[in-house]
Amino acid sequence: MKARVQVMLRQGVLDPQGEAVRHALAALGFEGVESVRQGKVIELELAESDPAKAEAQVREMCEKLLANTVIESYRVEIG
């Protein structure tokens, strides 16, 4: 079973990299980009075949390692 984890800086935490990308887009002439947030995507292949169990497993991975919940939020997609 495949799982996909999206890790983003929490809302309210300044994302200096996203800001830099926004400035670069403006410099390229892309107008009207009001905000850019940059995050990461982690893809996992799991032996587990039960979606609910897989999701619980991946959430635990997020809490323990994949995300730092002090500054980051995460979203898990299964399948």
Partner: protein, 222 residues
């Protein structure tokens, strides 16, 4: 004083830190990250600067999950002292020994220069050789030193006098100009600046010496 210095793949200040402990009279054991037990009789563990595990995932995140770091957390729980410098500070926040997190510098640049700090408390084994309010000059060299924590955590750190060092001219966007913090027992210190790189006039400064001398005085069995 018996100091252990953890060495991860990608650590690059481990020998500097060992030399700083030795110069203060310590016996030093280097601890490879694959070890599962700490050497017997350790008084303090140093977590050095560098780029442990290539900074993969997040700075310090992989190191924090290594077996030796789990031993380090137990060591701290038993009353052991821990000093985390630069990447070591990042590792300590990732293990949960210290609150908050270190994000990418607000200016996005790697900052490498000597900065002026204010010693905010002399009430710790690390800082008792300084005076509260004293200005010290220590080098910084980091890309991710932007200390971030929730309002409640910051209030608690400030209220309990756990901010050990503060930047005069904030180089990285850290909340409240925080450069280093203590845990609630004041036995764990994490800081971004490098005291171990300021122990000899040849390094351009000696303001870091007092930290290692103070630790030796506290941890040397009578």
């Amino acid at each position: 004083m018996h100091a252990g210095v953890i060495v991860f793949p990608g650590s690059n200040c481990d020998r500097d830190l060992a030399m700083a402990f030795e110069a203060a009279g310590a016996k030093v054991s280097m601890i490879w990250h694959k070890e599962t037990e700490l050497p017997a009789g350790l008084d303090i563990i140093g977590v050095p600067g560098g780029f442990s595990y290539g900074d993969y995932l997040r700075c310090g995140a992989i190191a924090a999950q290594s077996p030796i770091c789990r031993e380090m957390v137990r060591f701290a729980g038993r009353g052991g002292h821990v000093l985390g410098i630069c990447n070591g500070f990042q590792v300590l926040t990732e293990t949960g020994l210290l609150p908050g997190a270190l994000m990418r510098n607000a200016g996005l640049k790697f900052v490498c220069r000597t900065v002026t700090l204010r010693v905010e408390t002399a009430d710790s084994p690390f800082t008792r050789g300084y005076e509260e309010g004293q200005e010290v000059r220590l080098p910084v060299a980091h890309h991710d030193g932007n200390y971030t924590a929730g309002e409640a955590v910051l209030e608690r750190l400030e209220g309990e006098g756990r901010v050990a060092f503060r930047y005069f001219d904030n180089p990285n966007g850290s909340a409240n100009d925080i450069a280093g913090i203590l845990d609630e027992n004041r036995r764990v210190l994490g800081l971004m600046p490098h005291p171990e790189r300021a122990i000899d006039p040849l390094q351009g400064g000696t303001d870091g010496q007092a930290m290692f001398a103070a630790l030796a005085a506290v941890l040397e069995p009578a």
